[in-house]
Symmetry: C2
Subunit: 299 residues, 2 copies
Amino acid sequence: MASPHQAEIAEAYRTIQRDICAEIARVDGKADFIKDEWMRPEGGGGLSRILVNGDALEKAGVNFSAVDGVLTPEMSKNLKVEGGNFFATGVSIVMHPFNPFVPIIHMNIRYFELDNGTYWFGGGIDLTPHYVDADDAHFFHKTLKATCDRFDPGYFPRFKNWADDYFYNEHRKETRGIGGIFYDHLSEDATHTKTDLFNFSLALGQLFPALYSKLIEKNRSKPFSESEKHWQYLRRGRYVEFNLIYDRGTRFGLQSNGRVESILMSLPAEARWDYNHQPAEESAEAETLSLLRKGIDWI
Amino acid sequence: MASPHQAEIAEAYRTIQRDICAEIARVDGKADFIKDEWMRPEGGGGLSRILVNGDALEKAGVNFSAVDGVLTPEMSKNLKVEGGNFFATGVSIVMHPFNPFVPIIHMNIRYFELDNGTYWFGGGIDLTPHYVDADDAHFFHKTLKATCDRFDPGYFPRFKNWADDYFYNEHRKETRGIGGIFYDHLSEDATHTKTDLFNFSLALGQLFPALYSKLIEKNRSKPFSESEKHWQYLRRGRYVEFNLIYDRGTRFGLQSNGRVESILMSLPAEARWDYNHQPAEESAEAETLSLLRKGIDWI
């Protein structure tokens, strides 16, 4: 089988986007994803799909893009190459539920190629519960591990640590959530063809709806109090902090004149910041905070 | 009169903080500023004062700090010096009102000194109305100009442009609000002594309560609708974007292990992000957006 090319990868990612939206809208049961097609003046474009005010989901975005063009000086510097053209395609997802017992989820799969023949895959899936539930965390990590293991038994431990390091609010000294997997700059080597790496990214995309549906279904009808809702808004504030301060995709997108609304669809509808909020000792909120650290083996 | 020294400047700034809090709490009429004293492990400390759930103000922070220590490698690099010790003191303010017709305000005055004898003053005041009111904008800029003119007729035009450039959400291509003044790296020259520059910063600090009180009093009782409140939350979202993505003080503070809660007290209690929100044509919201650009002569 020949190595997958740009158009084939982009087409498969677009299909992933379509399938995820169809399945998540079905599970939500109330609202559907609108479609916003956009062009990038410098080359390529994308399709943003947004669901708001559903039954389970308050705001969910699934973005597909396939862009190309000349490397900017800043991109060349970051990539340590002498200019040239690039192609990039990917799917990015963030979903914010209403119920504070349903976690926020994020997924990204992406492919990048330079006209000198260099290419790589990157991506990840991570979970940000407002309240950490050990069973959900176990299920989430175990499911990710099973998919990783089909491609390489070394993937999960490596990519799990990478996620712990990446999804980290350094100034708060806390992880964004319970992590998951993160990987970047994967290209073919002695044990993985380009097709393997492509298939790995597709497997993550295909896994997503089942993974998140299960967490939605399990938790969407749990009763919650006003103070639990308040806590959810505070945790969303931390999510905003991570995305605007650290997230490479967000910062790169904003700096490179990307489509602002597609980049910032990751932000929650509503978020809060209370000065020096400290949860009561031994509360569920304090318990969650104590679990927002690197290196926990959730399996 | 001898040039003012570290302790004298810090003491005067602490007095500015005290006077501002007293006057703003009096105008608010319901809540007072709590006091949080903090130490910086590497040297110095500060006093954060926060008022929440007042009558006019939902969340207002007035922070004083006076810190010192060894320049970190990153600071040395930014300052283009070969290490050594520094001293920094300042007052930082952000106030978020309840009523969407009362603007958000920000002020900062600061003094920085290196042990090689170099020093400079920086600061600024800028206004972020949720709804731009031409009379308020005129009053705000005219009052700032009058204070600037007492020290140098060249200050206002120069510092007004500087504010337009600084308080700018590049990715949105919109100014944060209607600007004001911003200045940095002011040190003595042929026409200004160090005492002059110090007094200029004090004049801004002394001006603040009267300036903001007038805007509070004029607008605090205006009736507003749910959709105007909604718009306020969206504009607060933009404020969060500016502070987390661009604001040098915020980014420097977070990167240099500053006290997170004192740095992020600038964030509003509640903020919103709606995907691709577009105000109706010829609405007051659209009018406000059209005025969020550089170079408007508000006087």
